[in-house]
Symmetry: C2
Subunit: 361 residues, 2 copies
């Protein structure tokens, strides 16, 4: 308990604090007296017990694991639980779990009685670095991911690093993709630290690296909550990533798709005249060791890229890098998208499936 | 077409204009090029055709009539229709119909892609005076009405008075309750005008009275969008009204419940030391001729009043009147709630079931 807790302030219309450290599940404090706790069924029971002992929720709602909880049907059921428990408008909703459960819990908080206080306790690396900060909440539709939701920032976020110790090494490396992305678009010191052997559950660099990766997102969303401009930079690597998730019917985990997508975006950045950052993105892929991809057809993948939620009536804009920490938005000619797709696929095929290779460049 | 269109400005973080007049369905203009139109199945086809010719929606979604459309299940289906039609984030949702359909359409607009532009075309008196202005959107749960939703103001509201000509006299008089309420809490000139024979579909006082009744709500929500304070005054008469709707399983229409509820609130106001305004509320009831009530047990009704959505952890506060246009919030001792309930029930039993009686006081 003597360990340092790192604090990141998120400013904007409704400021809040993200705390990162050990033992936070038993130290969280909430102003509201009546609390609904929402967590996925596969969360280790000891985490649920700790939070229940700390917050004494009036109702605990268990939801399906992973993205299975992100449906309108599950949401309707959760809302009914809250209403049956008479959660008042000055009550609060707490989401405990991975990004899927906290996305659902946030949309429930945004919608119940037209909005109650929301708090989040992410228990995965992706949940901490990406989902917990920024106020995006929502569920999926049969027609696509994250098509429904609200901007509903939490009042506080607690990232208890103890919860990461249950993650397998594969899931931990998967989740590191968003932290590495924050290194590329904003804080190059993260690139070396994310690949350091001490960036692991229980490792000496875990909390500090995590806190700095979260701080990148916090700074961006502080300046642009509703994605009018700069916030789009956080989508670096995500246009291809979402398409890869769709063509593989979500068998490719999000963090691995982002790993692949960052390398594609680095290749596009280079061909559009930017510095060559592909050494970094390849180094990350060698470290992450993602699931190998099947042979993919550019046309099939491009159909999904065009349909991406970030597209407006004029089509897709990619987030590219002029250099490290210099992101910008650009439309890329289709001939170049196709050419770099072929090169990217060749690079992906050449990845070793053996343990961590040495860093490139 | 030479008729005057009345305009009411709603200020606040996102200002918008309410237009009231004849022929507006064919004159509405919307900045967004891709539009989803949502309307109830029982809306006269000629209104739908007019709006389709005016706005050329990319998708029209028909929903069940009245409150049957205000469910999470219907909402999920509407959202899927929008996604299947690829409505983009710079598209718009237009709600055409009564308050239920526009409440649903607004919540769909608030949630689809985390929020797209919303416009509303109310076609009932209640929809125009109450639901269309103020940004409250949402659906019901099996556990209660309006328990889920968002504050999502429209970009514009068109109240085409031609649509009111399809309403039966009973439904028109029902809807007049909210206009009369606005007279009591803010603009006493409305009291005489709402009861005037020219306040009827096609009548000489229709548009002007409607516009002034809407202006009362517009002024209140301009100052208090999310119901932190003054907006609660709009709930005058609604605490008993919601309870009456619940105990009658919603067989009592909302406007009639509000008519009864205003008289109860006027009795409470008098016993709590205010001016005697019961002559006004009785005059309205004699004009409205609501469905007679069964014998009601105070305890049963009070249980619902205590559970009202407006209650916080401390219990129910009633909106009372010191005098015309002088609303305030107060907790009322249960002994007085019971005593005035008995008196109110006696008054309600004494209402004539014959055509309009002369005004009291």
């Amino acid at each position: 308990m003597a360990e340092t807790v790192r604090r990141i302030e998120v400013s904007g219309p409704q400021p809040y604090t993200v705390e990162v450290g050990s033992g936070l599940l038993t130290r969280a404090q909430i102003a509201q007296s009546q609390i609904a706790l929402i967590h996925p069924e596969d969360l280790p029971a000891r985490f649920v017990t700790r939070v229940q002992a700390t917050l004494s929720p009036v109702v605990t709602v268990v939801v399906p694991a992973r993205d299975d909880c992100k449906t309108m049907q599950v949401m309707a059921g959760v809302l009914s639980h809250l209403a049956a428990a008479n959660l008042p408008r000055d009550g609060a909703v707490v989401g405990l779990g991975g990004g899927a459960a906290t996305d659902l819990a946030g949309f429930v908080a945004a919608s119940y009685l037209r909005g109650v206080a929301f708090y989040t306790m992410p228990t995965t690396l992706l949940g901490m670095v990406d989902a917990a900060v920024g106020g995006k909440t929502g569920v999926n539709l049969p027609e696509g991911k994250n098509l429904v939701g609200a901007f509903w920032p939490p009042r506080a976020v607690w990232c208890d690093t103890d919860t990461l110790e249950t993650l397998s090494p594969e899931v931990f490396r998967e989740g590191a993709a968003e932290a590495y992305k924050h290194g590329l678009i904003s804080d190059p010191t993260l690139l070396r630290r994310v690949l350091d052997p001490e960036f692991r559950p229980g490792g000496a660099l875990l909390a500090s690296t995590l806190a700095d990766a979260i701080a990148v997102k916090a700074a961006v969303v502080s300046r642009d909550l509703t994605e009018q401009g700069e916030r789009a930079h956080l989508n670096f690597g995500h246009t291809l990533a979402h398409a890869l998730e769709a063509v593989t019917h979500h068998r490719l985990p999000h963090g691995e798709a982002v790993g692949y997508g960052m390398h594609y975006a680095a290749r596009l950045s280079r061909v559009m005249g930017g510095e060559d950052l592909t050494g970094h993105t390849l180094a990350f892929l060698r470290w992450q060791r993602p699931t190998p991809l099947p042979d993919l057809d550019f046309q099939a993948v491009n159909t999904y890229m065009v349909r991406d939620k970030k597209a407006d009536s004029l089509g897709v804009r990619f987030v590219l890098l002029r250099d490290l920490a210099q992101p910008y938005l650009a439309r890329v000619p289709e001939a170049l998208l196709r050419q770099e797709f072929e090169g990217w696929q060749a690079d992906a095929r050449g990845l070793p499936e053996t343990p961590r290779a040495q860093e490139g460049t």
